[in-house]
């Protein structure tokens, strides 16, 4: 056996999301499992968004990180169930996001009822901490972020959107 499960998770926790380099792939919640069979390590990953172009880079970085630790037979397997949700991002990672300048996601609901208009949700500016904010567009520089505006410090900022 190359390493135990806990050690493998520690190594994976050093692989950063290429688009949000303050979060590791473990903190992002996309590492669902690690399977160890002799010398072979299979990392079970779930995609964030169907079209997220970073997923391929993330897979390559996971494999590179494991090989650098001496895992000779590292593989990645993709699973779809259960579907990724921002609820899997832990509190300490949310604090890192905010410190980095990205407002953390609010609560994701499984409610598939489509509401017209913005939901009233407390959104705190990561710079000045004011809640005098608004979502300008649900779509931002990457699939996972919205464009927001702070009326207090008059700066645009991004929010990791709840899904």
């Amino acid at each position: 056996m190359v390493a135990d499960r806990e050690t493998l998770f520690t190594w994976l926790d050093e692989v950063m999301d290429p688009e949000v380099p303050v979060l590791s792939v473990v903190e992002l919640g996309i590492i669902r499992d690690v399977e160890i069979e002799g010398d072979r390590v299979t990392v079970v990953v779930t995609p964030t968004y169907s079209g997220c172009p970073a997923m391929q880079v993330i897979e390559e970085e996971i494999l590179a990180a494991l090989r650098a630790k001496g895992v000779t037979d590292a593989r990645v397997r993709t699973v779809f169930t259960p579907a990724w949700t921002t609820e899997w991002i832990p509190e300490h990672a949310r604090a890192k996001l905010e410190a980095y300048g990205i407002a953390p996601p609010g609560r994701a609901t499984s409610d598939t009822l489509v509401q017209i208009g913005r939901r009233a949700e407390l959104l705190r500016c990561p710079y000045c901490k004011s809640t005098e904010t608004e979502v300008r567009s649900a779509f931002g520089s990457t699939a996972c972020k919205s464009i927001c505006w702070c009326r207090a410090c008059r700066q645009p900022f991004e929010q990791f959107k709840a899904i």
Binding site: P47, Y49, S50, G51, C52, P53, V79, F80, T81, P82, A83, W84, T112, V114, Q115, I116, G117, R136, S137, A138, F139, G140, S141, A143, I147, I163
Partner: protein
């Protein structure tokens, strides 16, 4: 799950059909990149196109796996001719003005959301997982399009007229979403497909609610266009495929 051998060819074609709707619409929407009326919409439409193409990649990948003939998602997307595509005619139509694009997004996403919601209960666990992920995306696609339908419809005289024209022009293409093919009926009996006819009433209700909010008139249901599910397309699909497929066909196996 392994699909019963007798159903596999039909199920592979059904997965292709699900993928084709999203691939062709995703390609069309991507044409807005760099051309949308405002920056936020340029970003939004590019994001939506990416979601649709991502969903298509998974669905065509599933189609290839079920077919078990060595074709992956890329082979299905880039190496089939127009007659082998099973997408609904609406998604291959040119983008038109912003109102046409938004109304088409609204009509399709409203359908897609209901279809995906039902597919989350598929006995094919791979499909159920793909659908559960795509459903989250389709839900915010509906919200985005519906908010714009209301803004345009309940906006200026000009935006209202354009939105109403788009609704009137595209309405005749909505019937095809709900046509049940004989293969779909057989697959639906096994729970592997959703009989789209069962989604029609809910689609019409949700669409009518938003059009009413937008002060737009829902057209009376009349004669409907059809053909896409049988591979009989409009003259617009060929040029779209030529642009989409040229690179992998001219340079087989190219990577960059």
């Amino acid at each position: 799950m392994t699909v019963a051998a007798a159903l596999a060819p039909a199920y592979a074609r059904y997965c292709q059909q699900l993928g084709d709707d999203r691939l062709i619409l995703g390609h069309r929407v991507s044409e807005w990149c760099g051309h949308a009326p405002i920056l936020e919409e340029d970003i939004a439409l590019a994001n939506i196109a990416l979601d649709l193409i991502g969903q298509a990649t998974f669905l065509l990948g599933r189609a290839g796996a079920v077919e078990n003939a060595g074709r992956d998602a890329d082979a299905l997307a880039f190496l089939r001719d127009d007659r082998a595509f099973r997408n609904a005619l609406m998604v291959e139509l040119p983008n038109g003005d912003f109102a046409v694009t938004i109304v088409r997004q609204f009509f399709f996403a409203s359908f897609s959301r209901l279809q995906l919601e039902a597919l989350t209960r598929s006995p094919d666990t791979e499909m159920a997982g793909i659908a559960a992920k795509a459903l989250k995306e389709a839900t915010y696609h509906v919200r985005h399009a519906a908010e714009w339908v209301v803004r345009l419809g309940d906006g200026t005289e000009e935006s209202r007229q354009r939105a109403q024209d788009a609704v009137n022009d595209l309405w005749r293409y909505t019937g095809e979403f709900f046509l049940t093919t004989s293969e779909e009926r057989a697959l639906a009996a096994e729970g592997l497909a959703v009989d789209p006819a069962t989604l029609q009433a809910e689609w019409e209700r949700s669409v009518r609610d938003v059009l009413t909010l937008a002060t737009l008139t829902t057209p009376a249901t009349s004669w409907m266009q059809r053909g896409g599910r049988d591979g009989k397309h409009t003259e617009h699909l060929g040029p779209l495929l030529a642009e989409m497929q040229v690179l992998p066909r001219s340079h087989p196996g190219a990577s960059w």
